[in-house]
Symmetry: C7
Subunit: 79 residues, 7 copies
């Protein structure tokens, strides 16, 4: 389960280029195209949008976003 092909990061890898939802520890929810990430969970999202946690409505567009990994709570790969 911890090998290269089966570890948690391999699931992120499969979502490369697809839309994901990144929930941050402080409750902010960001939707965007997963363009890059590393082992620390530093993430680059393109066409990123902040959305309301309850209504799921887009609050504003934030373009290309670099997220520092230690702020990530979880990432929804397919809803």
């Amino acid at each position: 389960m911890q090998g290269g092909g089966q570890g948690p990061l391999s699931y992120l890898r499969r979502s490369h280029g697809g839309e994901v939802v990144v929930r941050l520890k402080n409750g902010i929810e960001l939707v965007g195209r997963l363009t890059s990430f590393d082992d620390m969970m530093n993430i680059v999202l393109e066409d990123a949008k902040e959305r309301d946690l309850r209504t799921k409505e887009i609050v504003r567009s934030v373009g290309t976003l670099f997220i520092r990994g230690n702020n990530v709570l979880f990432i929804t790969l397919e809803e």
Copy 2:
């Protein structure tokens, strides 16, 4: 107790593919099939659902979920 076969991670390994409940530090409780994890407790849950901490009712489905390990409080392997 700290060898490969007897350490805490070995208990997670035995639950591979089974349903577990992941409680996060911020109080969120997630139920799902344990599909992957690593030493940092990064976890992938499939068919993940968020449930109410008290009533245990499903609040919403979140699909395939990547959880960053440092947010994990504890994992219930068998209820």
Copy 3:
């Protein structure tokens, strides 16, 4: 005092298989049989029960529990 036989972890080792009380940083108190632990204080408790911090009454059973070490405040080895 820091050798293998005398360090703090050696006290945990002696409690292997016995009942311990794990207090988490967030105030949750868990009682259970100490089945496994590692250097990070990742812990597996069997027959785990959550109990009220004041009354010491059992609030609910949580079965086999994997606790991520960084959430541990202290562990009572013998009351």
Copy 4:
């Protein structure tokens, strides 16, 4: 995705010399020219300005600013 040219840091590198918006964990938002950064996300911004999170109005100029990386929430590379 984790190679030198494609990792998240490579996106920061492309923004070198351009204007970025740095959101800190404590909610402060800083706009400025990205002059330097390292792996820890330590960042130097020149002509830095603090702006209001909602109205986006400039609250005050803070000149050349060294930001300690662990405070960074996310960085907007292009709005």
Copy 5:
């Protein structure tokens, strides 16, 4: 000042077997016999008692206690 004999840990070593007061970050104050500790400040106290921060009255006995080091604020070696 950072040699084996003169570093801060050497002061803990001298208190081995004696009664110390451990103040935790969350304000809990524990008195007990210092039986073991390591570089991380993991500590084992025997005959441990929780006492009131203001009145210094014993609130309850907690027996043999393993404290995870990262929760320690300070340790009073001699009052």
Copy 6:
């Protein structure tokens, strides 16, 4: 951008001996002469003064100050 001469720390180095403003995570703002620092952002300020975050008035003088790096939010090199 991450080489010795161009990294963020090189900007701190240029401010050596000059007056800087150090904002701590807890909101305290300290002004003083930057006398020493290291990779962890441990900092020594001489003729240090605590000032009010809003009015910028000096609240009190604190002399020579050693600041533990992990508390630093950002450092204003030139206002």
Copy 7:
């Protein structure tokens, strides 16, 4: 600036045996004779006293004190 003789720790070294004021992250202020410290900022103070942050009055004597380094905010070397 990061050499042995000029780094921030060298300033602590010069204060060895002298009275310093240690401000902790949680706002506690401790005055005492700096007897020992290490790279983590673990500190031993002798004749330590807790004092009121505003009035600077001594609240109580705490004798010989071992402070875990990660709780230190800053240290006033000369007031």
